[in-house]
């Protein structure tokens, strides 16, 4: 663990954002053009990265968006394109079993898009001494992008794994990747490239 701090990522934490429900079945809805066509394929690329991160001693933090069945905690979230989603404790909202979450992993429920908004993430990252965050999950253009923006504004080094995130549409996914790269140049990487980097840092 100690040598890791000398690499460009310092001490990273892996944030697995909103990988919920069935990730094996395509869920593309042509009527709404939502989410992007390859959503399930991109999500299925995450578990090998989690395995490598675990082996490298990188803490894994699972983020799960939840909303109360009474809908009182949606705020403005139903005033745009999104419909009712992520009702807490509903079977379709469980973290995908393929992610292999373990009891020792960190687990945070959130009621907004950013993983920092109204959650204990700041406290966990501080306690872990994390100076960088690796982001995977969905949607690229919503929860990932806005978690990235908050991490960036807190001075954390960010990496978005471009083939382990998927968006509300292909166009929005691409635009969000561009926006994040513009905010923090060098922050977009591929999964296998990141795996090599993590192995090299060890």
């Amino acid at each position: 663990m100690s040598t890791r701090e000398s690499g460009p990522l310092g001490k990273p934490a892996l944030l697995v954002i909103d990988v919920q429900g069935d990730i094996k079945t395509p869920r593309y809805d042509p009527a709404r053009h939502f989410p992007m066509l390859q959503f399930h394929e991109y999500m299925q690329r995450i578990p090998p990265l989690i395995t490598v991160a675990r082996a490298s001693g990188i803490p894994i933090i699972f983020l799960q968006e939840v909303h109360h069945p009474s809908l009182i905690d949606f705020g403005r979230e139903l005033d745009g394109f999104e419909r009712i989603h992520c009702i807490e404790d509903s079977p379709g909202n469980a973290i995908a079993p393929e992610m292999g979450r373990r009891p020792e992993d960190f687990y945070i429920r959130k009621r907004r898009y950013s993983a920092f908004f109204g959650t204990e993430l700041d406290i966990y990252l501080k306690g872990l001494g994390a100076r960088s965050v690796l982001l995977v999950g969905g949607f690229t253009d919503v929860c990932v992008h806005y978690t990235f923006a908050d991490a960036h504004q807190r001075g954390l080094v960010c990496r978005v794994v471009k083939d382990c995130v998927a968006g509300s549409s292909r166009e929005a996914h691409d635009a969000a990747l561009q926006a994040m790269e513009s905010l923090q140049p060098g922050s977009i990487c591929g999964r296998d490239e990141l795996i090599c980097e993590l192995a090299g840092q060890q």
Binding site: L71, G75, L78, G80, H145, S168
Partner: protein, 170 residues
């Protein structure tokens, strides 16, 4: 198992009470002065957000007594500032935004306004992205969050005037 069916309410451009958040460079757009005038005419709060150093260098000429200045230590006008408190104290529900970089200060302030339960509308003809290629993506992302997010300054002025006509005298 299915979530309850709820019809989405149609939202007005101005829901409740408005305020105007002004970022750097707004005054360079000719459409901006009418927007600022309409907000002032309604007596709605105006908040100028800028980095403290720039404010000192350029003076406070644009703000009138009773209007607000906030230092912008990061990108979102909500981060490390009193903006959220200020808006609640002034009983604001709809935040109008002009100036700044569409893909940076505007987009991330919009997201924080949204997550803090405010309605948010941007005058897309009073802002520009840096680089310019990111303008459309940022505007579409905001419209994804709140239908009606994208407005022109003229449309906001019309909405403010119509809204004012429906209000009892202050």
């Amino acid at each position: 198992m299915n979530p309850p069916v709820v019809c989405k309410p149609a939202r007005a451009i101005i829901e409740g009470n408005p305020a105007l958040l002004v970022f750097k460079g707004a005054a360079e757009y000719p459409e901006f002065s009418a927007l600022l005038g309409a907000v002032r005419e309604q007596g709605a709060p105006v908040i100028f957000a800028e980095a403290a150093q720039r404010r000192l260098a350029e003076g406070l000429a644009a703000a009138r007594p009773g209007e607000h200045w906030i230092d912008l230590p990061r990108l979102s006008a909500f981060l490390g500032t009193a903006l959220s408190l200020l808006l609640r104290q002034r009983n604001v529900q709809t935040l109008l935004v002009a100036g700044g970089r569409t893909n940076v200060e505007v987009h991330y302030s919009f997201v924080d306004a949204h997550q803090n339960d405010f309605f948010c509308r941007v005058a897309e003809d009073c802002m520009a992205a840096e680089p310019p290629a990111l303008q459309e993506g940022a505007l579409k992302a905001m419209e994804y969050l709140q239908t009606g997010a994208r407005q022109t300054a003229a449309a906001l002025v019309r909405a403010l005037k119509a809204d004012r006509a429906h209000r009892p005298n202050p």
